[in-house]
Amino acid sequence: MSTSPATSTAAEVALSVRNLTTSFRTDRGIVTAVEKASFDLHRGEALGLVGESGCGKSVTSKSIMRLLPEHITRYGKDSEVMLGPDNLMGYSGRQMRDIRGNRIAMIFQEPMTALNPVFTVGWQLDEALKYHTKLGRSERKRRVIELLDMVEIPSPEKRYSEFPHQLSGGMRQRVVIAMALACEPEILIADEPTTALDVTIQAQILKLMNDLRERTGTAILLITHDLGVVAQTCDRVVVMYAGQVVEQAPVRELFHNPSHPYTRALLRSIPRSGKKERGKRLATIDGIVPSLTNMPPACRFADRCDCREDRCTAEPPHLVQLNEDRSVRCHFPVHSD
């Protein structure tokens, strides 16, 4: 399932995020939602970005697309979002518009509102092609039907002239994916694409995304809080906690051998089935995520960590490279056999 990222070189990096710091000006002062996040997205891979609510996953993705309201958002001075040789942080609004949809596309969580209710499916797909390509009208129509066919929508000619409310949730999410892939982007950012769907549809959509990734070579940045989805889809995982990247690892290694106490606790809190589990209480992580306005000065997970030591509350840990494709932000990374 997973292609080994060990063979990847710098040339294959599609998107490189370096020291991304995003803060907002609010009534209570400057609030930093993401702090010095760094990760690479390789060509054709699926990278999972996981973490619980409020950890900065969505802010990270929106920072990459520069979708946050500009008048209250501040990016760090040394923040870089490198798409090939270009730093998107230095791009103007007009330059960003050429990138969006064309080289980086994005799909959202809620398929119910992700399509404009007053236009047909065909119109909306056509609009994207009209804007980004120079195709003629009949060519565009052919391409739209081709796209609908690609995302496995039955009888695409009929669906072409239907309105969003005539489609089911799963069908709508397929249309959204088709729209995102219309211009064959290098990168697809999927912000919780299956959260609002029921489990069988969820599996279908994830399978579809994986198939499409293999066929088109689009790199996927999958943002989710569902570790099951990550295990099913991703090659590598970035775990975020309270605005920081706390661990990066290939998916198999992360699941078998988590380094950060937070990752371990997260994995433990996945409900399992089986005889051995019967009657047991589900493991949870005690405490809550620290508030953005009142961050612990040292390790942000220290309060909730079950292997905390004095150093954890005194000195902030740095992201430490364990080997070529693993890194962890902890003074005392877990080493299990």
Partner: protein, 427 residues
């Protein structure tokens, strides 16, 4: 585009299934055609509505007038013609006379005319002896000298016939014109109520159309910009509309109507723009109404602005607008192609609401003497019927309000139907 035409036919099918809406649009179409015909073709002209067509306060739908009134009308005409025939040059004086601008003196020798006048007087005198003709014709007069009611009534008919003989017989066309003119009676000055009410359709449609179009356009653009861009744009728009909304509507209308001093604002506008106004509308939009348009638009744009702003603020946070942003579309494109179509239903509903609102406000302003300056309008008609209602003459106020009622009702039904039809989720 094939998909949009499929969409259009779906909307049309739904609309045609909605029976009241179809009836309402037929009614509006009739009013619209009447307005167009009056505006461009000019079947009923302004002088037609100012002309005296009959005796004053004549009831409509050929209902019977009071015998007393009939007697007085005859007296007036006979007296008129008799005094003309006693002039130094009777032929010339009589030739210049016409009744209600249509009927001329009968084309007979002067002697014969004088003879007919005597006959008419004779018939008149018999009736004039009776103290109360109305009561006599009804048989309620308790006086042994008075002939029975049937005879009184036949005497009246005879008098009218003899009076009629003084005038040239009417042609068929004249007869039908007269029938239309008197269809709904006459007002205190003897002007045709039917003509005045029909002519007022033009004013109503003009004011409704111009005001609603201007208000909806301005309000929607301001609301879209305020809701979508936020920040200082929103502040400016909000400041304007809350300021305008805090002034009582009618006070502002009156103030503006006074400010523009009875409609002489086309002069200054033409002077500044080098006759642009004249070239654009060439008087067809009625310059005297321009202050009314301005006054109404100044207060009416607030409604659509407020709802469109709110809706835009809601829509811009929805994922399909964010999705449009991540597709790389520019802000203007998103606003006009993705947000605007989602508020068109608000525009349509506001259009028909403001259309009605403008018509009703015009009536109020005209009632106060500040609205329409030239020619009749339903407001002016209602204002004039104040004294008539006291004398239980309801033809003028009844006609004006009925004409208004059907137009307003039709627009209400239509705007209701449009809401259902344009909603893609409503099957």
């Amino acid at each position: 585009m094939s998909d949009s035409s499929a969409n259009d036919s779906r909307v049309l099918r739904k609309f045609l299934r909605h029976k009241p809406a179809v009836v309402a649009s037929v009614v509006i179409a009739v009013y619209g055609v009447v307005a167009f015909v009056l505006l461009v073709v000019g079947v009923i002209t302004l002088p037609d509505t100012l002309k005296r067509v009959g005796a004053e306060l004549q009831p409509g739908l050929s209902s019977e007038r009071l015998p007393e009134k009939r007697l007085l009308d005859c007296e007036w005409l006979i007296d008129r013609i008799a005094s003309l025939s006693e002039r130094r040059n009777p032929e010339k004086a009589l030739a210049a006379f016409s009744d209600m601008g249509v009927r001329r003196i009968a084309d007979v020798e002067l002697d014969e005319l004088l003879n007919r006048i005597d006959l008419a007087w004779e018939s008149y005198d018999e009736l004039a002896d009776i103290e109360d003709v109305t009561a006599a014709a009804a048989g309620t007069l308790d006086d042994p000298d008075v002939p029975p009611p049937a005879e009184v009534r036949s005497m009246l008919t005879e008098l009218e016939k003899r009076t009629d003989a003084l005038l040239e017989p009417m042609t068929k066309a004249e007869k039908s014109t007269r029938w239309f003119e008197l269809l709904l009676g006459t007002d205190r000055q003897g002007r045709s109520i039917f003509y005045r009410a029909v002519y007022s359709v033009r004013v109503a449609i003009l004011i409704g159309l111009v005001t609603a179009l201007l208000s909806v356009t301005i309000g929607t653009l301001a609301g879209l910009a305020a809701g979508y861009f936020g920040g200082w744009v929103d502040n400016v728009v909000t400041w304007f509309y809350s300021t305008f909304a805090s002034i009582p509507n009618i006070v502002l209308l009156i103030l503006l109507a006074f400010m523009f001093d009875g409609g002489h604002i086309d002069g200054p506008i033409n002077k500044v723009t080098g006759g642009l106004l004249d070239r654009l509308i060439g008087g067809r939009l009625d310059e005297t109404l321009i202050p009314v348009y301005i006054a109404f638009t100044a207060t009416f744009w607030i409604g659509p602005c407020r709802v469109v702003r709110g809706e835009t603020m809601k829509i811009k946070e929805l994922e399909y607008i964010q999705a449009a942003t991540v597709m790389g579309f520019g802000r203007a494109r998103i606003l006009l192609r993705h947000v605007l179509p989602n508020v068109t239903y608000l525009m349509l509903i506001n259009f028909s609401l403001l259309f009605i609102g403008a018509i009703k406000s015009e009536v109020i302003l005209s009632f106060l003497g500040l609205g329409v300056k030239k020619g009749p309008s339903w407001g002016i008609m209602i204002s004039q019927s104040k004294s008539e209602v006291i004398n239980s003459f309801f033809w003028q106020i009844g006609t004006a309000t009925t004409f208004m009622f059907f137009l307003v009702l039709a627009f209400n039904v239509l705007s209701d139907a449009l809401q259902d039809v344009l909603d893609p989720k409503h099957v």
